[in-house]
Amino acid sequence: MGSKTRWLLDRSSDLNPRNMRLGMYAWVIQRLSGIYLVIFLLTHITAIAQANFGITKGFQVEIFDVLRNPFWYGGSTAAIFDLIALGIVAFHGLNGIRIVFLDLGLGVRRHRLSFWVTMLVAIAISAYVIVLGLPMLPKAT
């Protein structure tokens, strides 16, 4: 049935929500969070290098000006961007450890439970670091 010609979310597709179960959602979330983190990594690298280059105008500076807008960070440089990245890093890392264990054949029967534990621990770590870090952010002006 020429799967190449079908749309990604066709009824017969593995990615159609009606065909997806928990393990598939974990797989999709891991990939989406991975893409977000690559974008974050490249932004993080160029943002720091940009400060060293002393670049003051151009496309890149316009992007960082957008990120410095209070809408995104509420008073501290790109803090919301960073805090979102923190939560996603916590999930992606913990779920990655879970994947390594699953690849080794450990906990395959409990993969649903370990996914929810991963989610809860990721939220707990993010909450803890945010509570720890919030007083250190510069006050909104």
Partner: protein, 107 residues
């Protein structure tokens, strides 16, 4: 598929797992050292940030390659994706080293 190509896929799969384990540790140290700084935090960061940069780029771009190749494409397109990601990674590594320079060689 040629035997050599199969082993390369196995190697990349294993590399993704090993770099994942290293990243969990290195990223934890990196976040702690850069945000909850102590006297020797910059020394610690100077030690781990270059390997972290390298491993994060390898893991991230290899992950992008995995995702893109999962959509299914011909040998030439796969080669194009791989070469593009190598160039992107090399450029990002140079940018990263430039950003880390004052940390590595203060003064």
């Amino acid at each position: 598929m040629k035997q050599q190509k199969i082993w390369r896929s196995v190697f990349l799969w294993l590399l993704q797992r090993i770099s994942a384990a290293l990243l969990v540790v290195l990223l934890g140290v990196h976040l702690w050292a850069s945000n909850f700084a102590t006297d020797w935090a910059s020394l610690l960061r100077a030690g781990i940030d270059v390997p972290l940069l390298l491993i994060a780029l390898v893991h991230g771009l290899n992950g992008v390659r995995t995702i893109v190749l999962d959509f299914g494409m011909g040998a030439q397109a796969r080669k194009f994706v791989s070469v593009s990601l190598w160039m992107l990674g090399f450029a990002a590594f140079l940018f990263g080293m430039y950003g880390l320079w004052p940390l590595l060689f203060p003064g």
